[in-house]
Homo-oligomer: 200 residues x 2
């Protein structure tokens, strides 16, 4: 049976951008399905009373450099979106709205949002920017933004976020292969090894 | 010119155990010198008001699993020392005492302490255990423990820890190749790439 990896990520997480691109490459070279699950990481941080380190701390300063170097290491373009971090709720709700009808379309959306934010530095908290991204994909940008504001889309994002937290997710990206949890793009090598072994 | 990598680590850091073994393998296959620098990570955590997550949190629980899985991934034995974390000050001071006279001997000591803690699960905060580790290396265990308590050894550990913090170290292991800082054993692949490129 083809393995499925549940991928929890947040559009406002640089390591999620890197991690999801790496997972796509992995899925292109192996028999594995990816289940793309954008979540509201901020809600999880709030519930767990933690968050990313302040950029003024030694760790915060290092992580900025690490993100840039890690993107380059994996051959991905990288610029800092302005502002950063950004409110990723509308982008995530739009994903879940699209995903309800057409999973492939939703993945195109996710990739386009990541590209707009981290390759072009655009503000993907801004509905006008998101509508423009949608239009470039051949979608009706204004309709998508309206749908992202619907109760249904809000409820989907909330459910996905709650489900992630129940599974132990505390950061992003986080991947599940069967019951085994892997936090961080730097654990993808371990996922590959587990797939070779035929299990987690 | 042969590159030198400054390696800051703490004996009470599981990822330092994994990281220093990985760095040794790297140094065996490449033209690079390692500068082993045990530090008092607890003092840095205190100065920066941060520390490892509580084992009762989702992140703390995950990291326990991640340590075990990552050690296995790299073919290293792993058991949890009892207690964990442990006070690693005496082991680090003994290292710096040995290192003042004989760098190779100090590295043997470091490897023996890591082995006692993470392959055998022994309590390396206990002077009696440390003396036994020293005796197994052909050293005079009691003399080494006495020397580890000297003002000179204390001062060396303090200086190394201060120097690390001044360079931006906030966790362990942390590696420097020239001015470039790499935090975590999972960044060793990036160090390898930098060595291939002939620089950081």
């Amino acid at each position: 049976m083809k393995a499925t990896i549940d991928c929890y990520f947040d559009f406002s997480s640089s390591y999620s951008y890197i991690g999801m691109h790496r997972m796509r490459r992995l899925a292109q070279s192996r028999e594995v399905d990816l289940n793309w699950r954008p979540i509201a990481l901020g809600a999880i941080f709030k519930a767990l009373s933690h968050g990313p380190p302040d950029s003024g701390t030694p760790k915060g300063a290092y992580l900025r450099r690490d993100v840039e170097r890690t993107a380059e290491f994996h051959g991905l373009p990288y610029v800092w979106p302005e502002p950063f971090p950004f409110n990723s709720i509308a982008a995530a709700r739009a994903f879940h709205h699209l995903d309800a009808d057409d999973g492939e379309r939703a993945i195109e959306w996710a990739l386009a949002v990541f590209d707009a934010a981290y390759a072009q530095g655009r503000d993907c908290s801004d509905p006008a920017q998101l509508a423009a991204v949608a239009t470039d994909l051949g979608l009706d940008g204004q309709s998508l933004m309206n749908a992202a504001g619907s109760d249904e889309a809000k409820q989907r994002l909330r459910s996905e976020t709650d489900a992630a937290m129940e599974r132990g997710v505390f950061g992003a990206p986080t991947f599940f292969l069967d019951a085994e949890m892997y936090w961080g793009e730097d654990r993808i090598g371990q996922i590959e090894r587990a797939l070779e072994g035929g299990g987690a």
